[in-house]
């Protein structure tokens, strides 16, 4: 499916193409030179793939990423494209089904010969397509915060890996909320489980050194789509933890917060720090149900910088005033930009050259602030932030890490 652009965008596009810059740049980089491996790159266009779930259970979460990637690509096109070439999108539906993701990624790479793919959301879908990207040698820009334990030449991870999100969050809760006893709660799949493993290691090995009272009083996992948390809430009440540390995702999230509120577990009596709830989810949960709890992310829509305000404005202009932007949506927006910068640095669309050139790519004006791809692994240096849920569905940012946090997909001492 080809991208249908707004008429407004079209005029911008035409202007850009008619202007001298596009042609000149494209002539400077002849197709034969920038594309030696037979990708879908012509003198005027380059085709990229977009692979998210538009249908099925994950469509709820992935819609934001689809929109953000499109916005970025339209903006890049309006600026003259990549190496003077306009970006065309081939969109495929992963249908929330991992085998379909694998099938579609193979189609994008071998049939459409796309120059790179922006896509995937869940860890499972990434794991399903990863062997194909490695085998067929193509590039995936993956937007979601994830569990780490992976560092592929063929993936750029634009979200945070687990340690970036968790360690900062737990330290913050230890210092500022006085949290000493922790109850770990997650959905039952690899990301929450690995996250909780890291959290437990951090609590039991590092926080315990500071204060021997630190301990994990409970650890629970519930299957995706689980909607009845009454028993779990009673268990939490019995154990009375200082902090609930949660990574509940999808539809379960909504049920979880609503039932917490109904059972009288509110921020007045309990503290909760989540690593899975962004503005996107709050839309479905209702701000009133999670008001006063905390979230550890690298991006919140309320970040008060000129770059972010411009981004939020552009996003709302393109996708409607009532749209919200969560952490993953912003990370998805980074994908096309990072790819553009990498291609320009490498002076080529060839996958091997892009993979090699990725290390050290910087994006100064990113909505979340300065980010940089790590020199040796394909993750981003980024600043972690703590946000407090507000009633209107936004977050009040109450803490930001002072330094960029190094991505560490294979954390020593946390295994």
């Amino acid at each position: 499916m080809k991208l249908k652009l707004h008429s407004k965008m079209y005029s911008l596009l035409l202007m850009a193409m008619a202007g001298p810059t596009g042609h000149v740049i494209a002539e400077e980089f002849p197709t034969a030179k920038v594309n030696t491996t037979g990708l879908a790159v012509t003198d005027t266009t380059v085709t990229v793939g977009q692979l998210h779930s538009i249908t099925g259970t994950m469509a709820i979460s992935e819609t934001g990423s689809v929109e953000a990637e499109r916005l970025a690509i339209e903006q890049i096109n309006a600026m003259g494209g990549v190496l003077g070439r306009q970006i065309k999108i081939v969109q495929e539906d992963g249908a929330s089904d991992w085998p379909t993701f694998a099938e579609k990624s193979k189609k994008l790479i071998t049939q459409d010969k796309v120059a790179c793919v922006f896509g995937c959301w869940t860890s499972a879908s990434r794991k399903a397509v990863l062997p194909i990207f490695e085998k067929e040698n193509n590039m995936l820009y993956y937007p979601t915060f994830y569990e780490g334990l992976e560092d592929s030449k063929n993936v750029i991870y634009t979200g945070q890996e687990a340690t970036q999100q968790i360690i900062y969050g737990l330290d913050w809760a230890y210092e500022n909320l006085g949290a000493r006893t922790f109850y770990l709660i997650g959905s039952d799949y690899i990301w929450p489980r690995t996250s909780m493993k890291i959290a437990r290691a951090h609590i039991e090995r590092y926080l315990k050194k500071k204060d021997p009272k630190c301990k994990v009083v409970g650890e629970e996992y519930y299957p995706l789509g689980h909607t009845n948390f009454g028993t779990l809430i009673n268990k939490v009440k019995l154990k009375k933890p200082d902090l609930m540390f949660t990574a509940v995702v999808g539809g379960s999230n909504v049920a979880w917060y609503k039932q917490l509120k109904a059972a009288g577990v509110t921020s007045k009596k309990y503290d909760m720090l989540t690593i899975s709830t962004t503005e996107d989810e709050v839309l479905g949960i209702g701000g009133v149900n999670c008001e006063g709890f905390y979230s550890s992310m690298k991006y919140f829509q309320s970040i008060d910088t000129a770059e972010n305000k411009a981004f939020v404005k552009a996003f709302k202009a393109r996708w409607g005033d009532d749209s919200v932007i969560g952490d993953v949506t912003q990370a998805a927006y980074l994908g096309p930009w990072l790819w553009k910068k990498t291609v320009e640095k490498a002076g080529s669309f060839d996958i091997d050259k892009i993979a090699a050139a990725s290390g050290g790519i910087e994006f100064k004006d990113a909505p979340e602030g300065f980010v940089r791809i790590h020199d040796t692994n394909h993750h981003l240096w980024s600043k972690s932030k703590i946000g407090k849920f507000l009633k209107n569905g936004q977050f009040e940012i109450i803490s930001t890490s002072s330094e960029l946090i190094e991505p560490n997909p294979y954390p020593k001492g946390y295994q």
Binding site: D188, G230, L238, A262, A263, G264
Partner: protein
């Protein structure tokens, strides 16, 4: 494992856990009620049943959205309009679907299963296209949220109380309706002997249509209440399928009393299992226990007299 807690705490947990079980029983009954009417009266398996629950949920969400935008001062009362509305919407959709699709399939019960599965796919996509793929949430009136706390530790969810009341009203109302009214009589006679009923001048076609639509309407009310505890999204229905069928089968297919008993059994079992185990494992044990129980009581925990 209980050494470290005081007696007071344990008592409080027991009370809350019991109430949680009771709410769960209500949720099971709400899920199963519409299915029971359709299957019990018409021997039709409705795979799109869960989507009618979702229709109810969406009606509630959209109504709350509308109220907030147009007349925010009524936010505390809109529930009394939204719930009948959920019934009406689901009833009408049910009526239309019976007319277009189900009425052609009464002699082929297993085909109904396939057709309604296709229907459920279409309905899900309708929600996604026309309402949006994202999760929705009804803004509830203040009085419905939060909890009633008789002591320091005990919290009884207010929406749990409301769901309990609704379930009782719906169940009793349904019993009254089928046993005491003209329409109920027509429904029962049609389900027992279609040809004889026709001969006696009952319009069985209209009766069928009405029964089906009624079941959908009841599911709509159920859905409207479910949205206060769980999420509402296009695919929310898929999480109800297995459980609502199990409640029905375990209850002996077509016995309202059995439905309540089996809902209670499932609620009790899962409350106990989940208290001592983690979520996924508890679910596995729940299904295995049901499997063994059904192997023993093959006709369900409480099979109806009509069938034997």
């Amino acid at each position: 494992m209980f050494d470290e807690y005081t007696f007071e705490e344990l008592k409080a947990i027991l009370i809350m856990q019991s109430f949680g079980g009771l709410s769960l029983l209500c949720i099971y009954v709400l899920m199963g009620l519409g299915l029971y009417v359709v299957f019990g009266q018409m021997k039709v398996i409705n795979m799109a049943h869960a989507e009618f629950l979702v229709i109810g949920s969406y009606t509630m969400c959209l109504a709350s959205k509308f109220v907030i935008e147009v007349m925010p001062e009524f936010i505390n009362y809109y529930l009394w309009v939204a719930i009948p509305l959920a019934f009406v919407v689901a009833f009408i959709v049910g009526w239309i679907i019976e007319w277009i699709l189900i009425s052609r399939l009464y002699h082929r019960p297993l085909d109904t299963l396939l057709a309604t599965w296709g229907l459920s796919l279409i309905m899900q996509q309708c929600f996604r296209t026309f309402i949006g793929a994202r999760e929705m949430s009804a803004t509830l009136p203040e009085w419905l949220m939060g909890s009633w706390a008789p002591t320091d530790i005990i919290d009884i969810p207010i929406n749990g109380l409301v769901i309990l009341a609704t379930t009782i009203i719906l169940t009793v109302g349904l019993v009254f309706f089928t046993n005491k009214t003209r329409w109920g009589l027509r429904m029962r006679s049609t389900s027992q002997n279609r040809q004889m009923s026709q001969a006696l001048g009952i319009n069985t076609k209209v009766t069928d249509r009405f029964t089906f639509a009624l079941a959908c309407g009841i599911s709509g009310i159920g859905g409207a209440f479910l949205t206060t505890v769980v999420s509402t999204s296009p695919t929310a229905g898929t999480t109800y399928i297995v459980d609502s069928f199990l409640v029905l089968v375990l209850g002996g297919l077509g016995s309202l009393f059995g439905l309540v008993i089996s809902g209670g059994f499932l609620a009790l079992l899962s409350s106990i299992l989940e208290f001592f185990m983690s979520g996924s494992v508890a679910k596995v044990w729940l299904y295995l226990i049901i499997f063994v129980v059904l192997a023993k009581f093959t006709k369900g925990l409480f099979s109806s007299n009509i069938r034997s």
